[in-house]
């Protein structure tokens, strides 16, 4: 059995909590984190930044034919999401029985991203789901 544990482990902060970078000089946010700011390059002032995870669907597809690893999940939604801080990310959108739409607001959810078969490690991380406010809040308004 082959495992890619080190490779997965290295990016756990990004997979679990959307940890990225922010360049204080040009005020651009990056996900995944960048070692070099493409605007300021060596003049950059990069700091760690954890994204809120909320954003909007820019474009999407529903995948019916997947690679071997994802065959058991079809059909599933994949989208490019623009995070509220600016950067765009690719991710699955779950829990939307009403369908997925361009412009739809989403929030992050914690899900299984993949497994190394029955014996290897389990890759956990972030997917997205439609943003819903707790009902309590509605009553208050």
């Amino acid at each position: 059995m082959t495992t890619q544990a080190p490779r997965f482990w290295r990016s756990i902060p990004q997979r679990y909590n959307l940890s990225g970078t922010h360049c204080k000089r040009c005020d651009e946010y990056f996900f995944p984190p960048r070692n070099l700011c493409p605007n300021c390059r060596r003049g950059a002032h990069l700091e760690e930044y954890t994204f809120k995870g909320t954003g909007s669907v820019v474009t999407f597809t529903t995948i019916y034919n997947a690679t071997e690893e994802f065959e058991k999940l079809t059909p599933y939604n994949l989208a490019i999401i623009q995070l509220d801080e600016g950067p765009k990310v690719t991710g699955q959108v779950v829990s939307c029985p009403g369908g997925i739409k361009i412009g739809m607001r989403v929030r992050p959810v914690f899900r299984i991203l993949g497994k190394e078969g029955d014996r290897g490690i389990i890759y956990y991380g972030t997917k997205f789901a439609p943003l819903v406010e707790p009902s309590c809040e509605d009553e208050k308004r």
């Binding site: 995944p32 474009t59 597809t61 034919n65 997947a66 690679t67 690893e69 994949l78 989208a79 990310v89």
Partner: protein, 387 residues
Amino acid sequence: MRSVSIIGVGCTKFGERWDVSLRDMIAEAGVLAIDDAEISGEQIDALYVGNMSGGRFVEQEHIGALIADCAGLSRLHVPSTRVEAACASGGLALRQGILAVASGYSDIVIAAGVEKMTDVSSGTAADALAAAADREWECFFGATFPALYAMMARLHMRRYGTTHDQMAAVAVKNHHHACYNPIAQYQMEISIDDVNHSPMVADPLHILDCSPISDGAAAVVLAPTEMAKKLSESPIKVAASAQASDTLALHDRRDLTTLDATVHAGRAAFVQAGIEPRMVDVAEVHDCFTIAEILAIEDLGFVEKGQGGQATEEGLTALGSSLPVNTSGGLKACGHPVGATGIKQAYEIALQLRGEAGRRQVDEAEVGLAHNVGGSGGTALVHIFTR
């Protein structure tokens, strides 16, 4: 820098070639090209071969040495280099060959491309191809190539009103062209309805919006133009060779409905050749999916941004119109053995400019263009050829 010309071309039949191996195909294409150029092995100074994923498809790396060996050139110790830029590996091999000749380091150079994709299951093939996307930040979340282009298509439809019928028109046209191409994988007509009713792969792309899994190899022989005039009766001049890069991941692009790498490589190529897009007589563009051809003809400047779908629907890119696109059948219908595709495009353009394209011949074709894309647009190559 020296001017470079193509003095010989060769291409195997594309398709599911169950009975032949990667080694068999590259030898076949190489021999065809060398025969066409009427040169001998001793004259060859260098080999460049485009191959995306020998490691995944046939568990073979070190393709450079393998090719030299299969081509019978091992005892001549000809330097042989494998280059890789995903689906643009062939176009990149061509460019490396051109640069080697232009620089004066080499005189006669073979640029080839090969891919053997049908020895693995379709799931494994899809995964190998997905390696051309961003493995960590796209594929890890379940992205496939059709999915990435489907997301471009979705936004193009939303922004410009492009319809699925217009995308299907690309497939219908390219299948029609392929009927006239003896090496094409699918020499059969299809209808808009056929595309619309074929199984969904990644919404809105159906299976007939996608290029197939194919086996095949192609090769061209390059020489300095001065020498080419003596060696060949009909050399094809390389008027421009341009290459551009962009972010690996689609989501990082400036605009999700434009391949900036194509725009930049295209502009550079037109400047080098000293021509404008409207002067192109025949073009082979990278139609790995129907939407990709629509994006390509827009990004290369053949039509306005957003007009690609309508232009295709109106037949402006069909054989017999002012700019026939993908007379070979394109990746869609001629087939897409990824490493071979960029070389096959040059092969097709060379045949067109030599007037040897048979029933798909474009009348009085003098300027041809080949456009090859790697991944979802991380690499683009544009070559312009003249008679």
